[in-house]
Amino acid sequence: MFDLCAARPEPIPFFGELGSVNPMFIFEAALNNRGEEIAKGWAGSLTMGAGQFCTNPGIAVVLAGDKASAFSKTASEALSGAAAQTMLTDGIASAYREGQARIASTSGVREVLTSTCDLRNATPYLYETTAKNWLANEILAEEVFGPLGMIITAQNMDEMREVALNLQGQLTCTLHVDNQDATEATRIMPILERKAGRILANGFPTGVEVSDTMVHGGPYPASTNFGATSVGTLSIRRFLRPVCYQNIPTALLPRDLQ
């Protein structure tokens, strides 16, 4: 579609959203203080609407260690309780299973929660990999449309920032931070600003407000047009074009300028 728009004799703008994994970065103090609560909240957000939201949070980045293992266990338990949900089309359901198989067969990926779903149904899957392995396998950065989560364990904050730096454009990036995380969070913010249309803290990205400040867009492939949003009042800008009127008599001006 993008190519067709660009290949026209008179090219036209094309606004499309091509994919976003909506990563969450869970900082040390937040993980220590309330990792379980975040894991449960994540499971809820990941399975909402069979995971068929463009802001579905597919990736959680945490510091490796006991707390990360506890996070993974809690998320897995919460996800395993989710019932099978009907997907929007047969095609989406089969693409979900293809995506799942692609993740499962990538080297260095550990299966945390598996399930079986067939026909037009989706059930959750959860995988885990290291930051090093994620960085080495570009395919792991691609969206799987549906309730599939991946935990990325970083050895240290440098690795966590390296993951952020290697993200493709995103609709959203999420921080889970407590007060003690302020210094590290300050260091990652400039990276996330370059990656995402919306950055949120201590919440989940599903649930997009329709309002004056909303930005639902982001650098490619989150959107084909980084300067625009498709949700909220600012989205009207996609359908407007500035025109300058020089020395034009009042009667000839558009009525909003008269």
Partner: protein, 245 residues
């Protein structure tokens, strides 16, 4: 029980086609829908271009009233919309009721938004007749609507980002006629929403070319829309059906 007739809405007329595709509902009855033809696209886009000469120059108050009337007409069909939508997409009734509220809210929000003029970003440079070495003329700037727009319905939001979803609401608010290519995952939902928009067009006495819905079922519809020289393109929230089909 809403029984869709399966036709396209082209510039105020319901148009059938002998060639049809059947919907694939998650539950309930399947219905036959007209497959879109390139000639349908051509008619819809030309009417949208005709409509632009009036609609693109309408007052903000007129467009706000139109958006609010579309919202009213959708509200008036609430039950039937949820029934066909839930059947087609498998989404639970509660979700679709919420999404209908969001859709109506978006239309009303844009009505309020354009009644204030800040979105127009009006700028004014006063003339400087005595400026040396050359005088400056008076300059004014305003945001104008770009013309007819193509909107591709999204599979994952059958209401909020499809026929009368956020893209359509924003384009109509700006003053742009809209041609929607319906998503084949929810053609009946598209039809009943198109019916609501048509009712609003009649009530507000607006050029019928301001809105058309062409059902999918043939990929040529999408490419014909994109290739049409008179149109700009807005893909709905999610390109998924292009990736998987």
């Amino acid at each position: 029980m809403f029984e869709p007739h399966g036709k396209h809405l082209i510039a105020g007329n319901w148009v059938s086609n002998d060639a049809t595709f059947n919907s694939s509902p998650a539950s309930g009855k399947s219905f036959a829908y007209a497959i879109g033809r390139v000639s349908d696209v051509d008619k819809a886009v030309k009417s949208a271009e005709d409509a632009f000469w009036s609609y693109g120059y309408s007052s903000r108050a007129e467009r706000a009233a139109f958006l609010n009337t579309i919202a009213d007409e959708i509200d008036a069909r609430a039950e039937a919309i949820t029934q066909i939508g839930s059947s087609e997409t498998g989404l639970p009734e509660m979700r679709l009721n919420g999404e209908r509220g969001r859709t109506i809210g978006q239309l009303r929000l844009f009505a309020t938004h354009i009644l204030q003029d800040d979105y127009l970003d009006i700028r004014f440079d006063a003339a400087l007749p005595d400026r040396q070495p050359l005088p400056r003329p008076e300059l004014k700037m305003v945001q104008r609507p770009i013309g007819p727009v193509a909107v591709f319905g999204a599979s994952n939001f059958p209401l909020a980002f499809s026929t009368a979803g956020g893209d359509t609401a924003a384009a109509l608010a700006a003053g742009c006629p809209v041609v929607v290519k319906g998503h084949s995952a929810h053609p009946g939902t598209g039809e009943i929403i198109a019916e609501a928009i048509l009712a609003a067009i009649k009530k507000c006495n607006i050029h019928p070319g301001v809105f058309s819905l062409i059902q999918g079922g043939d990929r040529k519809v999408g490419s014909a829309l994109v290739e049409h020289c008179l149109i700009f393109v807005q893909q709905g929230l999610n390109l998924f059906h292009f990736l998987v089909s």
